[in-house]
Point group: none
Chain length 186, copies 4
């Protein structure tokens, strides 16, 4: 069952633990024990805990980009694309036990130092913002309005994720879904 590749095992383990408990609540020891690796093996592949965090965020970003690309490239109407996105967001929250956005959670404990991580967070968030805007561009003739609705959707996505995590309840996502659907009608 155990993968032969230690680097992958470490990354997968860390992904799970970082997401579940938060970056600063997970120690190297816990990671290597769960991944069944030696400590030095870890540092063979990742120069530091922070570097592992960056690698993890990279994979999250890539999956996120792929997911959004799939939606963008799909044959759905713009409103349906937004609907899909929020439906998937709901599944994500439920499946991850309401642990919310890995980027926001990591940003909560990496201010100051960690310039690399902060950059990743900004890039990721900006990329999601553009996702919403680009879909709105398809829906609304007025570019200014498209941008405005896009940013609005972005805030709904973020707020509903944050509060579903805080409240351990799915209702914020449901509200966001309803509001988003309404927005795309106009």
């Amino acid at each position: 069952m155990r993968k032969s590749n230690a680097k992958e095992r470490i990354l997968e383990t860390a992904s799970k633990l970082f997401h579940e408990k938060g970056y600063s609540e997970v120690g190297i020891n816990e990671i290597i024990e769960t991944a069944e690796t030696a400590k030095a093996s870890f540092y063979q592949h990742y120069p530091s805990k922070e570097a592992l965090c960056e690698a993890w965020l990279d994979t999250v970003h890539e999956r996120s980009e792929n997911h959004r690309s799939d939606i963008v490239d799909s044959e759905q109407a713009p409103a349906e694309k937004i609907e899909s996105y929020f439906r998937d967001l709901e599944s994500f929250m439920v499946n991850s036990n309401f642990r919310g956005c890995p980027y926001s959670n990591t940003g909560a404990v990496t201010d100051g130092a960690c310039a690399g991580i902060i950059g990743q967070i900004q890039d990721h968030k900006e990329s999601i913002r553009q996702f919403f805007r680009s879909i709105c561009m398809q829906q609304f003739e007025d570019a200014a309005k498209a941008e405005c609705v896009g940013d609005h959707l972005f805030l709904l996505y973020s707020g509903s994720t944050t509060e579903a995590q805080n409240l351990k309840d799915i209702w914020p996502i449901k509200v966001a879904q309803a509001v988003a659907a309404e927005l795309m009608k106009s």
Copy 2:
């Protein structure tokens, strides 16, 4: 200038540090050194770091409640109250160097083990939700609509705070302000 009261000094120091760096990034040592207290004095007043965190969140909650009470009790029209709230949110973000919501930030590194903190987070957030809803009740005759707009505003508040922190930029707040103003017109 140093306050004579050790308990207060500890709480104020912790408030500053927890907010600036995140709960898990601040150690007891840093707190007592900054507060110029002995270690055992700390445990005289607070049984644990977690208890101090709860005390901190309590003060944040109290200030927040007072702030919102002031708005609610003010003579402004509902739309103006919302406007006030988001204007103050903007100041808060700028003044706190874009460190965002103490509750969300703490929730990002708190798992099931900290039942007390999680409860506080939920109470605080629910209280803000009700704040928005109650103002909307004044604005909209339809109670269902009021609730809906209230929750919508809640998500805008949360999303704009989260993303202003992530992006280290005030634009999400600005967007939320504009959207909120629009919402209160209908």
Copy 3:
């Protein structure tokens, strides 16, 4: 038998180990195990291994200064003072199993960083140089000659210590004794 004071126990243990094996060959673990202390107790008293090294060198320096003061203040003739010094050096080398000068040994592995330690080494050595010079001042009318013989004795002290350590043999000290005696006659 065990001293109640952990700080002293740590310093004494480290003094022994650093001298016997060399600064870089002794780990914190070995120190605290030998001193029967917890690791955190160590860091309560010394902020770092390097700081402990400095504290150790301080005690060596102080003992050395006292020793040399005793000689200087004694009623012996200058030549006898020098004789005393080299006789004590012989005892020191034998008693310390030919481990030589703690300062030179530490300097061998602390180049680059460790500015504090390097400063201590220089101060210590300069202080010994002045010790020789001051005694020579009592013996020789010509100040220039006194300085010259003083420095000469300084090199004999250093060379004999170094080579007794390298060769694990006392003959270099014996040679230095003879030469020094000769020098003080002229």
Copy 4:
């Protein structure tokens, strides 16, 4: 520019690093990275770090022997030979940034466990002692005196090297030069 021979590259790199920072301050990783070799390639050529150290000391010894042979075999008078030696010592100290004798520096962090290295140190030092004695044999008819002056020069060489390293200053070498010149006159 990179040598094709890995073994040589490793030895040269280690020579540089061991001398500059001290044996115990240089890790295998730093060596192989600087030498651009794989870790296992290192152990193909050298069974251990200690063995590499011995190989390094061997090259130092060989260069030293050649240097001294050149002086011994030269057409200079004995006093000039001594003068040459100390002049070269001055250059060596300046060029090596006052890092002093590789043997003494290694001995400072090597205990009984490294019998091989200790033997090398003793052989090297004894060989230098004999170098001084043999030149003195040419100068002085009295064999006993020759031995005595030879050992004296040996201590001057060692002490001046040690203290130039400690003090990061060339004056000890200068003093040794002057004293040595004087000694060779008598």
